[in-house]
């Protein structure tokens, strides 16, 4: 053993990694790569920078530095900046409309219920997610209406004339899309059906509601519809436009669903047929879950569209948030020209909500992504 040659096994040692060259990392390199990669790019960058440098200080000054934040009326606004006192004084109107002040918890409760049901719909275990959240979703609009109205659940009655503000936009959009969901599914099935009657009814319905502008539909709901009812029958204006929204929405969603149906490979239908499932079993158990998965991005995009469309309700005098803003601007104690503050405020809350929904949408997409891409 004495002459045993012993040496350390040769070990491969990679050279120490060198940092990336200075010309490819860091802020300078990023700017060179993205902002100044060519002469036209550099020129545009400089132009845009100059433009922003011109505008942004003024905006910041108007919004924050010379603006007025505290006070009780517009006399407090003496500076040149924004008069946020206006938004503050009217904030309850902007969010809740004229809903009875000590009952506002009911509006909040409805919004929380909506939020909880949405969260539940993608956090519950997959095994019973659909069985729980679908009925919850379908009951939710009626439950919210019962809570807000109050008569059925033994609370103080708050007439729909008092509902309003941003909460109305949110709840209207949610209530419309939830009820539209099953309808649009049926229209989409009808359109793909072999039965001539079902197919033609579906086509006419879908094309009518997709072809007519939503403003025209609102006018029909608010001005024409009452003339068709029996004399003395009054359907609440809010209910009328709710129905209009449901129809409008189900027309659009039906097309989204149809796209989803077409994306499902025919092997899925044939497989379902071959194990002896009937039409409804096949549709509900095999096809629909896949259709929903495929259509999810479009469903959410349609929802964002509907949500923003709810401000059009102002043209028929529904006191949603933009109408409330116009009402506020016409109050003789607030005639100091606060339109810009109001529009900025409404724009910001809409942007926050829509941005939040986009984030939620991409989250859901990731969760639902069980594709066989890899």
């Amino acid at each position: 053993m004495a002459n045993t040659f012993k040496s350390d096994p040769i070990e491969f040692k990679p050279a120490e990694a060198k940092p990336a060259p200075d010309s490819t990392v860091g802020i300078v390199a990023w700017m060179r790569g993205n902002l100044f990669s060519s002469i036209p790019n550099a020129a545009f960058t400089i132009l845009i920078m100059l433009g922003l440098a011109n505008v942004i200080p003024d905006i910041i000054d108007w919004m924050f530095i010379s603006s007025t934040w505290s006070g009780a009326n517009q006399d407090a606004c003496v500076g040149d900046g924004a008069c946020w006192v206006f938004v503050k004084a009217w904030s309850q109107q902007f969010f809740y409309g004229s809903y009875t002040t000590d009952q506002i918890w009911r509006v909040n409760l409805s919004l929380i219920l909506l939020f909880v049901v949405i969260v539940m719909s993608f956090t519950l275990p997959a095994s019973y997610r659909l069985k729980v959240s679908v009925p919850l979703f379908l009951v939710l609009p009626f439950l919210c209406i019962a809570i807000l109205d109050g008569r059925l659940v033994g609370l103080e009655h708050v007439n729909t004339d008092f509902w309003g503000g941003f909460s109305l936009n949110v709840l209207m959009a949610a209530a419309a899309i939830i009820v539209a969901f099953p309808f649009s599914f049926l229209w989409a099935l009808g359109r793909r059906s072999d039965m001539p009657l079902a197919r033609s009814i579906s086509v006419v319905f879908i094309e009518f509601f997709r072809g007519v502008p939503v403003l025209a539909l609102f006018f029909m709901g608010s001005v024409m519809l009452p003339l068709f009812f029996a004399e003395g029958t009054n359907v609440d204006k809010l209910v009328r436009v709710w129905i209009v929204l449901i129809f409008f929405m189900s027309g659009y969603m039906a097309e989204v669903f149809r796209g989803g149906f077409q994306a499902i490979p025919s092997g899925q239908y044939e497989a379902a047929d071959s194990i002896g499932l009937g039409y409804w079993q096949k549709t509900l158990l095999i096809i629909l879950p896949q259709v929903i998965k495929v259509s999810m991005p479009n469903i959410l995009a349609t929802f964002v569209m509907l949500f923003k469309n709810t401000v059009f309700l102002l043209i028929i005098g529904i006191p949603e948030v933009l109408q409330t803003l116009l009402t506020a601007l016409s109050n003789s104690n607030w005639l100091g020209g606060h339109a810009i503050e109001g529009y900025v405020f409404v724009g910001v809350i809409f942007w926050l909500c829509c941005f939040g929904m986009s984030m939620l949408a991409s989250n859901i997409e990731k969760k639902l992504d069980t594709s066989h891409r890899n």
């Binding site: 009951v139 029958t233 009054n234 102002l314 028929i316 016409s330």
Partner: protein, 337 residues
């Protein structure tokens, strides 16, 4: 499932309210609240405050009718309506009375199945000019640029007026009243034209309201008044005379402060108006103290005017045509006897 179906039924019950149209008075009494169509927001006429309370000259007509019929001016359900849907809302019975700065015209009165119950405010197209211009009359506006809101009756009125008087002008039209105002402010035009009641509201919104004046000329007739459905004469009378009670109250010097006292100790005319003597209330199908309630709770015309659009408000509109006939205006209530 029982619970769900009862919720659905409730949703329908919420939507459907039934009411016969013939006897509006009985409906209102049964309901205990007057349903009144107002604007979605018009400074001084029907406006909402931050607390959600409605006020204004048009709103005071609603309150007067509620006081006369129900004895309580606060028992009003306000329905904000756009200009396009106001008549449908009345025709379909959604509202009992429409008090929404609506111009009384022959066409509307005769072809829509409606009746105008009087005039609350005599409005008309007017002019606002910058003080710097030194103009005293619209006739001196030759060759000037006019800021006008597109699609309003104002456009027609001033085009007629200037053609009649052989004056040239250049219209600059805007979409909303806010844009019209900023157009005027930035000097795009020399004068701004709109309904006179609106000019005062637009003026307050200027950065320097004192730098602009509203010319005295009014070039079109825009009598604004409450409207009811045709075919219910009793209700028509009630709305008409509730308004007249306010005007008569001013003429007789009865105010919200002294109405109760005048009812007991006033002149015979006061007593007749306020229901201590005579049968005016009974003839309308109302309580004897109907007019007393109107004046006590809402005030006479002068009080309402000054509070909402006159010296007590931001608008500071002078009475002008809307003064009583004996003060140089044209406001006149038929004899209260």
């Amino acid at each position: 499932m029982i619970k769900i179906s009862s919720l659905v039924a409730g949703g329908l019950a919420l939507g459907l309210t039934l009411g016969a149209q013939a006897a509006t008075l009985d409906d209102v009494k049964k309901r205990g609240v007057l349903s009144c169509g107002v604007s979605t927001g018009l400074a001084g006429f029907s406006q909402k405050d931050e607390k959600g309370n409605w006020s204004g000259l048009d709103v005071d007509v609603c309150r007067a009718v509620a006081a006369a019929v129900l004895g309580d001016a606060s028992k009003v359900q306000y329905k904000p309506l756009t200009a396009k849907e106001r008549f449908t809302a009345l025709q379909s019975g959604e509202i009992d009375v429409l008090s929404r700065n609506t111009t009384w015209t022959h066409t509307r009165d005769t072809s829509l199945g409606l009746n105008f119950a009087g005039t609350v405010y005599y409005d008309g197209t007017g002019f606002m000019v910058s003080k710097k211009l030194g103009v005293k009359s619209a006739k001196e506006l030759d060759g000037a640029n006019a800021c006008i809101q597109a699609g309003t009756s104002t456009e027609l009125a001033i085009s007629d007026y200037f053609r009649e008087n052989n004056i040239k002008y250049k219209p600059v039209t805007f979409d909303t009243s806010d844009q019209t105002r900023s157009g005027f402010e930035s000097g795009r035009c020399d004068f701004l034209t709109s309904d006179q009641s609106q000019l005062y509201a637009l003026r307050i919104g200027l950065k320097n309201p004192a730098g602009a004046i509203v010319l005295p000329e009014v070039i079109s007739k825009e009598p604004l008044g409450p409207v009811v459905r045709q075919g219910d004469d009793q209700w028509f009378n009630i709305v008409k005379w509730s308004l007249n009670a306010m005007i008569e109250g001013e003429e007789q010097g009865v105010t919200s402060a002294n109405a109760a006292d005048k009812a007991k100790n006033g002149k015979p005319g006061n007593k007749r108006l306020l229901g201590t003597e005579g049968e005016l209330g009974k003839n309308l199908g109302l309580n004897a103290d109907w007019a007393l309630q109107v004046i006590k709770q809402v005030g006479n015309y002068s009080e309402s005017f000054e509070r909402n659009v006159g010296s007590g408000s931001q608008l500071k509109i002078s009475r002008g045509l809307n003064a009583l006939w004996k003060d140089g205006g044209i406001l006149y209530s038929p004899a209260m006897r």
